[in-house]
Subunit: 315 residues, 2 copies
Amino acid sequence: MADAIARLCDPAGDPTDSSIDLIVVGPASMARRLLLERGVDPDAVRIVDAGRGASMAGNPLSTLRAHDDVTVTVAVGLVSARLADGWVSVGHTGAAVAAAVLGLGRLAGMSRPALAVVVPSLAGPVVLVDAGAATDATPDVLRQFALAGWAYSTSLGVASPRVGLLTIGSEEGKGDRLRKSAHDLLAETLPAAGVRYVGPVEGHDVALGSLADVIVTDGFTGNVLLKGIEGAVRWSAHRMGQLYGDAEPARRIVRETATSEFAGGMLLGVNGVTVVGHGAGTADEICACVRLADKAARLGLVTATQRALAAVSTT
Amino acid sequence: MADAIARLCDPAGDPTDSSIDLIVVGPASMARRLLLERGVDPDAVRIVDAGRGASMAGNPLSTLRAHDDVTVTVAVGLVSARLADGWVSVGHTGAAVAAAVLGLGRLAGMSRPALAVVVPSLAGPVVLVDAGAATDATPDVLRQFALAGWAYSTSLGVASPRVGLLTIGSEEGKGDRLRKSAHDLLAETLPAAGVRYVGPVEGHDVALGSLADVIVTDGFTGNVLLKGIEGAVRWSAHRMGQLYGDAEPARRIVRETATSEFAGGMLLGVNGVTVVGHGAGTADEICACVRLADKAARLGLVTATQRALAAVSTT
């Protein structure tokens, strides 16, 4: 993470990030030392001191409630005080989601926030939502995810995003109980809100992208699928590197994908731009998360999501 | 399908299949015509007449109950009468599963059969179970799938298969409600049956394969994940073919994977070898399904599964 911060803070660093005004949140003495080690003048960087990280073990909510100096709480505080336009976490996902809900609040019409990931499919960007924030969803929660995902896709420039429900094909009887109920609800409510609902889509549609621009699922299935896709891409890169006799181009595709908008999950349904990245992310991946937060703030993602949720709440 | 049958019935066809004694089940006049068109003498092929296929639409169970001449019923009848050692379906998955349960019966200790797919991971074959037979599973159903998957992996030659439960990583709180209960049950019951339970694994572990030889999940998640992996491999082949400037080697990997043991799902927990392939499979893929059924029959898969289930039922 220190490498990513050093690069983002250094005017000679990543030129695509030169317009981003970064605030580093964390133990200040450690941040200053790490920046110095990387040849960046710490006095040229805005550092907001925070006493402790959220531990990966235990219940994040109890840590957040017991202490007011946890990094995620301090970072969220900057956004809610309008001192920052968004924030990025690459630590504990549960802690980031909890801090965002507590500090920024949920948008009206959104009972649980969702993580949306932009998959660079063969046919264009596909928004997969939810990628791991909310397991054990209900049909109504999936309806909210559909609207928020649609708003995200619209913000990213897709003119009239097609929304699909992730299931397992018509021949098996159209999925499990949750999907059967959710399909009926989506088919009934989304068109009334001006959202194009294209019905059931399958696992391969996430990477192929020809059927839908937004693919809706619960956080358990979405997280398993996303990690399955990542594993399959690494599998392919390994096998193809061997077969072509040159591993480098295959590795480049894995790297480029990991540092695209795919790098970070956008937390939809909270009142402020929140990006959650991989805890074990490379400097390039963390820079990509910061660029994604910057982009969402500029595109007015929160307002767009608010509007999409309101369009349905009032129908 | 006719191309696959022609090749399997032709002594000069696929040499790897020369030891397989094939029976073709379906409308006999159509089968004879298709074989003739492909230059194979239909009199040299055993054809068992069956009046109708199971339609892809509607409830397969009601079709099977209303008619006794459906292809899947006739094929299963050959296995239950010991006139065949196994059977392959490349039609309606639900119809194949229903016909197998009705005609062959479930093994003791298995309340619902599961589809197991062998994924050629970087570290070796990984059995993913269930890949789509049983949605809305319970912890006890996942326990049964774990035992049956373990027996399948053992039959395939893995000495002491490691069994993992597919979930979404410790940091998110170890999965949804089903996974939390299932983990406790698997940790308690599998070691007592002599089965190595390695705990939670994630989506990427299916293609990477370093943590577990058998990965257990419900049929909804398994089917979504499997199709997601297939889509990601096609995505990779497309992207890498472009980058390397030669699409053929990438296509070969997709083809080879599709015609490995990955081609067919093995239905575990019924009293007879049953392989379910893609409805839209190529001739190569259908031949691979037939080879898989042959292999499972020779390796005594049903007996191994029976034993694994009994080991636990009696503890």
